[in-house]
Amino acid sequence: MSNYAAPIRDMQFVMKELAGLDRVAALPGYEEASPDLVDAILEEAGKFAGGVLAPLNFSGDQEGSRWQDGAVTTPAGFKDAYQQFVDNGWPALACDPEYGGQGLPRLVSMVVREMWKASNMAFSLCPMLTQGAIEALALAGSDELKQTFLPNMVSGHWTGTMNLTEPGAGSDLAAVRSRAEPQADGTYKIFGQKIFITWGEHDVAENIVHLVLARTPTAPAGVKGISLFVVPKFMVNADGGLGERNDAWCASIEHKLGIHASPTAVMVFGDHGGATGYLVGEENRGLEYMFIMMNEARIAVGLEGVAISDRAYQQALAYAKDRIQGKDMRVRGGGDVPIIRHPDVRRMLMMMKSQIEAMRALAYVVASALDHAHASPDANDRARNQAFSDLMIPVVKGWCTENANDITSLGVQVHGGMGFIEETGAAQHYRDARITAIYEGTTGIQALDLIGRKIARENGATVKAVIAEMSALDAKLAAQEGADFATIRKALAEGVAAVSACVDFILANFAKEAALVAAGSVPFLKLMGVVSGGWQMARAALAADALLKEGSGDPAFYRAKIATSRFYADHVMPQAAGLARTMLEGGESVLALEEAQF
């Protein structure tokens, strides 16, 4: 069991000093996002996360969701908590005001979503999937579909799902086999089985709106023959009320390593004559719509890595301050002390803290870029920010979630033997974190996206612009005094050189030997993450130093920020050189063995 207190101080610092909240609030349509309103939202969302969602995290994991005769019962307290979540208007935060949303920027919703995910990851997946379904419908749905479904989804009265995966179609969606047969009335009958459907069946809301990928009879083979359909659990009557039960049933839910409270459904469509579905957009363009939506789902899962890491850190920190064991090495003949006094425990806590802050900074900076990409009045500015976020999204997703596995593991380690005991609660974060590097595209898929679509295809234009921006920080760091900034500067320069060498390698080799480059793509993704995080931590140290000199705010927080940035430069940034060497020289040995030699 553990408490969760939203790290509002760091969230505000990152939003204001690194992610440019003031520039986001200056974009047309986002004028409401003034600093005082944002502060109030963070404060109140933090209270809800800590007071309502966090207390259900451990019990939800222990109890889990249960399936019986096609119905799923969520753990005690989840239904009430969801009702309160809806009553308090949180689902609508970033949605289009036309359908009842509050229209706040992604940057704000990103920060609030971090709180939901950290306080109760399994719970947070329900609104997250609904958000994804809302975005897909808003993007490609007809006006009639939008009017029928969006208002109730935006309010949270109905939830949404994404039905992509099938037993034979996981990472490769070209293999989707579910069928959609056109009917005389313009609807379709859907037949097929879908697996791994997050919150695919539950008891927290009255209707579930499934978005389902399927093929029409005339569709071409492969990815170009997949269409997207809306299949509601209950049909919607002309007056907007709920009608007949649709032929979409939950056959079972999975027994998983983590996120036990989140029901992961096997969905069967059309076993009793066909499930009624409505085409979203045009036939055969389903995957295209999904990929636009998926960009935002991927950054949301990257954020999940930040959130679960922070929860694990808060728990480990509380234990390290409380657990009395052994003497302080620096005090001769002293009494027993809390374990936070021991150097290696401190090192572990600093590894957690510094990487969480770097990950949070990068995730919020990308969220801010997405806001500019959507709302900037200047076409060049939109294009530049879109390119930056396209490049960085696989990095945020892959790096933050891989790190989350390491950080939650450190959280267990700080607890010693108690960490291995389920009642302590540290183990849950470790188990819950494991899925984040898998769903919405595994780290391997993210790394392929990064080297192929995001770097090689555009001949490295965006990544080179980012490298130039990182390098431009050197002059500012050089102008600073003291050993902290000297170390941060040297580490960043070495990191940027490592990224630059790998980008040259990708561009030189991708066309002729893609497999060789792909063999080092995950180390490269991690390298991009480590160095981008170091870039943000260097910016954070500069901002903190400026605020210290200005004499405003909380000096202890700013000094800690600089010290944490220095720690990151000492303990995390040195990974860059090793990762680059693996990328540059390690591809051949990956590919060397014949399959029989394994």
Partner: protein
Amino acid sequence: MKILVPVKRVIDYNVRPRVKADGSAVDLANVKMAMNPFDEIAVEEAMRLKEAGIATEVVVVSCGLPACQETLRTALALGADRAILVETDVELQPLAVAKLLKALAVQEAPQLVILGKQAIDDDSSQTGQMLAALMGWPQAVFASKVTVVDGKAKVAREVDGGTETLEVSLPAVVTTDLRLNEPRYATLPNIMKAKKKPLVTVKPADLGVDVAPRLATLKVAEPAKRKAGAMVADVAALVDKLKNEAKVI
């Protein structure tokens, strides 16, 4: 019926207070502040009376630094209609606050003033009682249930050994105890509306109140560290220690 709800900005209840090095006060520099939890209960009770159709307007008041605006915005986000800030950088003591509230009560003419039974920073538990005395109004303090019917408030209050029920005629002052209600969480639409609700600022001088402190704080110290416990052999040894060492029986 109008309800006036005074709210105090205090150190957040989750924060461990630290005493300044010179022993003059609790150190509040860069410490998280929040609404006094007993006052949150007062805001909630006022909102429930409004939702029940008994109250028509809920006005919140805070006295102190400009940062008290945040506390008032929190109350507005919980549903209060408008706010008044009595702004001063003078350290306010209960009598001064009671006088400021009296001036506002005369101006606003509420039927009910509901406030926390005490603030968690100084634990004085004086403001509500002093305000009632200054106004010449009845008071019902430490309320655990409030019912308003026909110009009267029936208030169950927590006393030693049980509950006492009082009936007071309005206007009156009620102070809240922990069990009166469980405060709600602010809704997102109300948080957004709070920004646009009226908040006026006045100075103590505008209200004709002298807020100069009457009491001097001599010293603030951390509570003594608790000493390690000891096992006793039997009940006789325990009684002996209580009698002769602790001298409590």
